[in-house]
Amino acid sequence: MNLTLKVWRQKNDKSTGQFVTIQAKDIADDMSFLEMLDIVNDDLTRKGEDPIYFDHDCREGICGMCSLVINGRAHGPNQGTTTCQLHMRSFHDGQTIVIEPWRAAAFPVLKDLAVDRTAFDRIQHAGGYVNINTGGVPDANTIAIPKVIADEAFESATCIGCGACVAACKNASAMLFVSAKVSQFALLPQGQTERYERAQAMVDQMDAEGFGNCTNTGACEAECPVGIKLTNIARLNREYLSAKVLSQRDIHA
């Protein structure tokens, strides 16, 4: 099939970008969206033009590198998929596809469709870890954790840090991401030492990065490729507020 792409092109983080119309010819149904862009880039390179710059890595939905707002939807029109898992059969011949980068003050555009997501890394550095010696592989079941809790923690840990939640949120809020990272530790015994300090440190960093305030629209949950739930945000609120109101503790003081 043939498609018309309206792609955001921006030279670097200093310049102002604009939409450029590019034709994508002879695209097969079973190509992924990123493969389609590869074909377009081959074409551009052969013509001596600058290829479209976009983030990607694993191309199997596990790394969280691919991004793109496609026709107004983070990671395209399908639910529960990353852009690398989106196939061209979700589009039709002759369609116009508008491709934009994630838009957020905390995610500045680096070039074309790639944004700087190191704000997420800094939030992780602020508290997304545990200070325990891991040592060798422990025997199974030395620390008893109920299955439901283990499952819940595991599901929170599946967040791939892609930033679709921020991109989809009308407030560019990072609450879903932060809540997943906080939940993953708050639920497990290994995460208890820094439990309340973690929630505060990560929320502080989230605010400092310039993300917006959550208004509970639920857009993040709807667009998250791995299905991180809003219940995590309630948990983050609970962790943070109970740290502030009930059990504030400064363990390094």
């Binding site: 605010d207 667009e223 309630a234 609120n237 363990i251």
Partner: protein
């Protein structure tokens, strides 16, 4: 992890906590306000309603709560503005295409617009009734009731000269009440079609505001207990999103069509 974190109310979650608590307080007020105002539907020339108005404006604990209430409205609006401005600046360059309706409800994305409608409404509402009542700009009335049979014997409008203060006197089983006639003021105000229209529109805005807002307030304080959250959602939609706004909207309509 840094050991000194920012104070609660300078953080995004602290500001939202304020939105949530003031919002829930206002929800509670709505319920009380509705129950009291249902007396407008009584066919007693405003006897019960006018007595209730005196109670609400003079009983000291209620006066305290009413100041909390005015403060809540103002704080809720100011914080909404502060948070919205912050949210706007969190995305300085917007999307060319955005498919908001694909991932969220309209009212959840437009709480600010709905809230602005409500703020205009509250200002109009207070100047029509609260201000007039407190500044002696409403008519006066006298009721004579036979206490034995509960029958209303006589209802008479008083002139400004005849009225001094609210009073209840009983003589030979006949109760005489002299009061400010807020009921009449309500009746009078709701003869105006534009005002009735404003009220109905505002109650529609209230419904959509609370369908999102009530459950959102619980999410913000971190309350989502499996057993109760379903109940909270139901209360949010049916009580605060349907029953309360509809009953409120019926009040202006009742007076308008009663003539």
């Amino acid at each position: 992890m840094s050991s000194k974190s920012k104070p609660l109310f300078s953080s995004s979650l602290g500001k939202k906590l304020i939105m949530s608590l003031t919002g829930l307080f206002l929800c509670m007020f709505l319920l009380i306000h509705l129950i009291g105002n249902l007396q407008l539907f009584n066919n007693d020339a405003g006897y019960a309603f006018n007595k209730y108005a005196v109670f609400m404006t003079t009983f000291p604990p209620i006066k305290v709560v009413s100041y909390l209430l005015y403060a809540s409205v103002i704080i809720h609006a100011i914080y909404a503005l502060v948070l919205t401005l912050k949210n706007k600046s969190a995305r300085p360059v917007g999307y060319n295409q955005s498919a908001g309706s694909a991932n969220s409800k309209w009212n959840s994305r437009n709480m600010g617009i709905l809230g602005t409608v409500l703020l205009v409404f509250i200002a109009t509402h207070m100047s029509n009734f609260w201000w007039k009542y407190h500044n002696d700009q409403v008519p006066y009335i006298e009721y004579k009731t036979d206490l034995k049979t509960g029958q209303q014997l006589e209802v008479r409008e008083l002139t400004a000269n005849e009225f001094t203060v609210y009073s209840v006197q009983v003589e030979n089983g006949i109760e005489t009440v002299q009061a400010r006639d807020l009921y009449k003021q309500v009746d009078f105000a709701f003869q105006s079609l534009p005002l009735v229209a404003l009220y109905v529109i505002a109650m529609a805005a209230l419904a959509f505001h609370l369908i999102h807002g009530f459950q959102s307030a619980f999410q913000t304080v971190g309350f989502n207990h499996k057993r109760y959250i379903g109940c909270i959602r139901t209360i949010g939609v049916w009580l605060f999103g349907v029953i309360i706004p509809v009953l409120f909207a019926l009040m202006p309509l009742y007076f308008f069509f009663k003539g």
